[in-house]
């Protein structure tokens, strides 16, 4: 029996994740310094963990409403009002999800018809194209370049928009490049979305991790609130990846449609984590700022390090990644990553794992201790010398 024939063609058509492949090589090596990790090295701040323990003692072990705990939605709405001046009704315009991962899936499944195209600036987070495919849509990737610091331009978008384009999926600050979009350039994107009447899905999970100026929330731009599905979560800024809490903010029609899928597939996000997320929003700003400051210092170490090594890279302004070009070594991204791992035991992620336009680059995460980063930079420097 050929069981793989029984698998849905949509699933079969999705290529295996480039990261997964690399993970299998790294997994059982010893003495490796990993710059390949896409999550904070900080453990969730204690007050958040402690509040979860207290919640469990109080018996918070049941389902919540499909939308999530109202108090959490209220805290989120309040935060967006305060930070970005965008108003969302916590009752009808917010949905708590199992990470941004689920929120992204819901958003795409709620809006896509077979054949609908979704514009996705690339390099991008690995799930974007796969989730569009799983939702029956057609991902149309929009390659961005290092020359423009991996910001997407309306010219690049205009070149690929068609009458079938239904949505634009953006994620800034960006994983894997660390790029951000300044406000004026986001305004141009907003005008583009308006002109072509597109829905914008904006994944702002790294929004709080912005190191120069303040993050611009896409739905805070004039006219954008109604056509934007805003995704955010607790994984990165609060160091809560394993808790699996994210959320979507959007107009009531989108939220109702997403909730319909969520209620039948997920029912609700875990209550223990929702309780902890409330504590994170209520009392976590100070700890978060400390982590942001620490990432910022490490970011400077990385930029300085790669400049000294002689690999071209632009200065990332957000998230916790740096994305140097390795073209001058004459190696492909995968060769670079594999050789670096065997020769010097430093793990990073080949850029093409984030789409074809990531070829020629590698993603280094600086969610690691200063000592680790310094040692890794030294090893990378030694390695690169053999090729330049």
């Amino acid at each position: 029996m050929n069981w793989s024939e029984r698998i849905s063609p949509t699933v079969n058509a999705i290529p295996p994740s480039g990261i997964r492949r690399f993970f299998d090589i790294v997994a059982d090596m010893k003495g490796v310094i990993s710059l390949g990790v896409g999550e904070p090295d900080f453990v969730t701040p204690w007050h958040i963990r402690e509040s979860c323990v207290y919640g469990l003692q109080q018996g918070y072990t049941a389902y919540t409403s499909n939308h999530g705990l109202l108090e959490l939605r209220q805290e989120i709405a309040q935060r967006f009002q305060h930070e970005y001046g965008v108003t969302y009704d916590p009752r009808s315009e917010a949905l708590i999800t199992v990470g941004v991962s689920e929120a992204l899936d819901l958003a795409l499944r709620a809006i896509l018809n077979p054949g609908d195209e979704v514009l996705i600036p690339e390099p991008c987070y690995v799930s974007y194209t796969a989730c569009v495919l799983l939702a029956g849509g057609t991902p149309v990737t929009v390659p961005t370049t290092m020359d423009n610091e991996f910001r997407v331009t309306t010219a690049q978008l205009e070149a690929l928009v068609t009458p079938r384009t239904k949505a634009l999926l953006i994620g800034y600050p960006n994983n894997p490049t660390g790029a951000i979009m300044p406000k004026d350039e986001l305004e141009a994107v907003a005008a583009f979305a308006e002109k072509h009447d597109l829905i914008v899905i904006s994944d702002e999970i790294y929004g709080d991790l912005t190191y120069s100026g303040k993050h611009t929330c896409f739905s805070s731009l004039p006219g954008m609130r109604e056509r934007t599905i805003l995704l955010n979560g607790f994984s990165k800024a609060y160091a809560m990846t394993g808790w699996r809490i994210g959320y979507a903010l959007a107009n009531p029609v989108f939220i109702a449609a997403m909730t319909k899928i969520h209620q039948y597939t997920m029912l609700c996000a875990p209550i223990t984590a929702q309780v902890a997320a409330i504590e994170a929003l209520k009392n976590g700003q100070c700890n978060m700022q400390k982590m942001v400051d620490e990432y910022n210092r490490r970011r400077r170490i990385m930029v300085d390090g790669f400049n000294k090594i002689g690999l071209k890279c632009f200065e990332p302004k957000g998230a916790f990644y740096i994305f140097p070009s390795i073209k001058e070594t004459g190696l492909t991204s995968l060769q670079f990553a594999e050789e670096l791992l065997t020769q010097e035991k430093v793990a990073l992620v080949p850029g093409d794992a984030f789409g074809a336009s990531g070829e020629g680059f590698v993603r280094c995460s600086y969610a690691s201790s200063t000592a680790n980063l310094t040692e890794a930079l030294e090893r990378i420097g030694r390695f690169v010398k053999r090729y330049l």
Binding site: S17, F23, S34, G36, S127, R297, R300, V349
Partner: protein, 159 residues
């Protein structure tokens, strides 16, 4: 300046070069600033936090609550000075509440510490009473958890 102080408080081994990169400032500026902070005694001392128990060295630490009669003109300060001048005294704080001074004393063994309390500390003029608490176990010192079991539990590579 506050960020520089916070960094040095956490890790005094950071070099001027490293600090300059981390703070995005010229090395000369950082060097001058550290010098100033030291001259002005804002940075009092660069010191290591040692786990003596692990080093196999026996030491006894006691915290002693001391009640005193404040003196005219100098208040608590004169008595405090008479106490903190003893090298056995590791820390000394003026406290609000049920007693006045909290003295932390270190010695090789119980006997040594008790002798210090009975012969030196309690005999100082103006000391009304002392209550000695011996420390049994140190969990956290200067913001550092001594036996931290929170290892990095992340996958080596993740999206």
């Amino acid at each position: 300046m506050i960020e520089l102080l916070e960094l040095l408080e956490k890790d005094p081994t950071l070099t001027v070069e490293q600090l300059a990169v981390m703070l995005g400032k010229p090395q000369a500026e950082i060097a001058a600033e550290i010098k100033r902070l030291e001259t002005e005694k804002i940075i009092v001392k660069f010191q290591a936090v040692v786990n003596w128990e692990k080093a196999g060295v026996d030491r006894v630490t006691a915290i002693i609550d001391v009640k005193i009669t404040p003196q005219r003109e100098v208040g608590f300060d004169a008595i405090a000075e008479r106490i903190y001048r003893f090298p056995e005294v590791r820390s000394l704080y003026l406290m609000s509440g049920a007693f006045d001074l909290m003295v932390m004393v270190e010695g090789k063994n119980l006997k040594e510490v008790s002798r210090f309390v009975s012969t030196k500390l309690s005999t100082i003029e103006g000391v009304v009473s002392t209550t000695t608490h011996f420390m049994l176990k140190m969990y956290k010192e200067s913001g550092v958890i001594l036996d931290d079991k929170e290892d990095d539990r992340r996958l080596v590579v993740s999206p």
